[in-house]
């Protein structure tokens, strides 16, 4: 009797296209990417055919580059602020649209809609709002100073960072709201009824029933917003383009250049592919650490359940 092959022909036929695409666009570039970060790779070196191994010097240079350090700092600030704002707003919205108010389905859809539009396009819309609409409204409501270009939100780095947070919150709160909403709706109504009979106030029920029952959703949304904020690029490009510049340790530096943009600019604007590559490896390692925490956090929850 012929031994049956471990993997059928269908196994390979069905897997090959995906494996091929995966190898070509992720696996090979990933390996190359890590390799390039240890070389003097540049757009011209490839032509000359000589790649030199330079050890950790790209990492060393990056970690001593003020722009990169600053960018890391701004990204951290932006990520933390964004996580807080998006989740607070989203949870509030979810509570609102899970009540029995009229038209709640319309509200749910309306709050979700900004999430459908790409960050690149939204950034331009908000640039117009911050630079043209608000300066125009200002004097009409007795705040003439808003019309002064010095006071535009995007004219200084702190304001512009908040601008990024405002746009991202507006964009993604509706999405996160839907995740909270699904969790809130899965809380058995009997729990609330029983607590109500026992005389628990709505605020107490929120704290003692809703919040613990949606704890799993908090883990999901926290990491989702954390990772998405950390990777932000599109809104950054169109809303602030990394500007305005700021003085950092006596050097003029792009004030809102988030990491993803710093990597891009290092590679293309500064024409240093190998350093851009080293930075992207650092970027990747941070994401790996975040993901490990995420897996640990959700594993822990599973045990409790």
């Amino acid at each position: 009797m012929a031994r049956k092959a471990k993997h059928s022909a269908v196994f390979w036929i069905f897997l090959t296209p995906v494996l091929l695409a995966f190898t070509l666009v992720i696996f090979i570039p990933f390996i190359l990417g890590v390799f390039y970060s240890f070389t003097d790779w540049s757009s011209s070196a490839a032509n000359q055919g000589g790649l030199k191994y330079v050890g950790f010097s790209n990492y060393d240079k990056s970690l001593h580059d003020l722009k990169f350090i600053y960018s890391f700092g701004v990204t951290t600030v932006y990520t933390v602020l964004n996580m807080l704002f998006v989740n607070a707003v989203a949870f509030g919205l979810a509570l609102l649209v899970s009540t029995k108010i009229k038209g709640r389905n319309v509200y749910r859809a309306g709050f979700f809609i900004p999430n459908l539009i790409g960050g690149l396009v939204l950034g331009f819309v908000w640039q117009f709002i911050f630079n043209a609409a608000i300066p125009f409204i200002g004097p009409l409501i007795g705040l003439g100073s808003l019309a002064d270009p010095k006071n535009f939100l995007l004219s200084n780095n702190v304001g512009a960072t908040f601008g990024l947070v405002i746009v991202s919150t507006w964009q993604s709160a509706g999405y996160i709201m839907m995740i909270y909403l699904a969790a809130i709706q899965s809380v058995p109504a009997e729990l609330h009824e029983a607590a109500q009979i026992d005389g628990a106030s709505p605020a107490y029920r929120l704290w003692a029933i809703t919040v613990p029952m949606v704890a799993q959703a908090f883990t999901v949304t926290t990491f989702l917003t954390l990772i998405n904020s950390f990777k932000q690029f599109d809104v950054n490009v169109s809303l602030t383009a990394g500007g305005p510049s700021v003085m950092f340790q006596n050097h003029a530096i792009a004030g809102t250049e988030l990491l993803a943009m710093n990597i891009y600019n290092t590679a293309f604007a500064a024409n240093s592919l190998s350093q851009g590559q080293a930075r992207s490896v650092v970027f990747f390692l941070v994401l790996v650490v975040i993901s490990i925490f995420q897996v640990m956090a959700s594993k822990k929850k599973e045990v409790e359940l």
Binding site: S8, F14, P17, Y36, G119, Y175, S238, F284
Partner: protein, 287 residues
């Protein structure tokens, strides 16, 4: 008395939510009124209603036909890239996930793990070598992927496969094996079993996969920027918008019209398939 207070509370809540709703949609209102304005009107009163709504059609016609913006070809390219990528991602990931679930070997488990693990990889780490490597591939084999549709399809299959396989995998695990065994006893080949029996059952997860990937691909900026490049012969809508918004120095009336035209297809799609989109996106978040 308590009832009255509750009623007042409900009223307050309703008014508050309604105001919030208007505030959230305000930027869309701005886009709409700005698209119907002349350059003069938009600087004179960014919030005023346009004097003549018919100007909206002039602006749309301008964007659609202007040779420099190339909106028309970009729009068609975006439709083709999104459409074909989705068909390919759905079909190829579904069949891959199926054999991965039904083949219980160490290799199959390992491959699945690789796909799941690769979801952590950010685009930034592969983007520079990807472009360089596509160029090398062209020099060596003559297969042209940069600035081509083929390159975009390939890239989206590669980057979209992991999450899609993961979602299909979870769903297929729940399909009873007896169903396939019965089909095979009836003489179905493995191919027929998959395409006739399994593929149709996957409908709900097809929707989730298509929605998650569709939203990403339609709005994606960085990948087309690298593979097609801004101002190249082949562009997508986000590329065309950013190219235009950068080149025309703040011609806001036309920029807003271009933005409006980029938004409308997505919003229409959402209103048509709202239930599935929300469900799909919530399902996709819990990976």
């Amino acid at each position: 008395m308590t009832r009255k207070r509750i009623q007042w509370g409900t009223w307050g809540l309703e008014i508050f939510t309604a105001l919030l709703f208007l505030a959230v949609l305000f930027p869309f209102y701005i886009v709409l009124i700005s698209s119907a304005k002349t350059p003069f009107e938009i600087t004179q009163g960014p919030l005023a209603l346009p004097s003549d709504w018919s100007n909206l059609w002039n602006n749309i016609a301008h964007i659609w036909t202007d040779e420099n913006i190339r909106y028309q070809s970009s729009f068609i390219a975006s439709l083709l890239i999104t459409g074909f990528s989705l068909v390919l991602i759905n079909l190829l990931s579904a069949q891959a996930a199926w054999v991965l679930v039904r083949t219980k070997t160490r290799l199959s488990g390992f491959l699945f793990m690789i796909f799941v693990a690769s979801m952590v990889i950010p685009f930034q780490i592969v983007m520079l070598p990807l472009v360089a490597w596509f160029r090398t591939l062209y020099d060596v084999t003559g297969i042209k992927l940069l600035r081509e549709f083929a390159g975009m399809y390939l890239a989206y299959i590669g980057f979209g496969a992991s999450l899609s396989i993961f979602l299909y995998h979870g769903f297929i695990k729940g399909i009873p094996l007896e169903l396939e065994e019965a089909a095979q006893i009836d003489g179905c080949s493995q191919f027929a079993t998959f395409y006739r029996i399994i593929f149709p059952i996957l409908k709900p997860i097809h929707a989730t996969v298509a929605i998650l990937n569709g939203m990403w691909i339609w709005n994606d900026y960085l990948l087309p920027l690298l593979i097609l490049s801004k101002g190249g012969a082949l562009m997508t809508v986000p590329l065309a918008v950013s190219n235009f918004a950068g080149a025309y120095v703040k011609q806001w009336d036309l920029i807003m019209t271009a933005i409006l035209m980029a938004m409308v297809p997505v919003i229409v799609a959402f209103l048509l398939a709202q239930k599935y989109i929300v469900k799909g996106m919530v399902a996709g978040s819990i990976k």
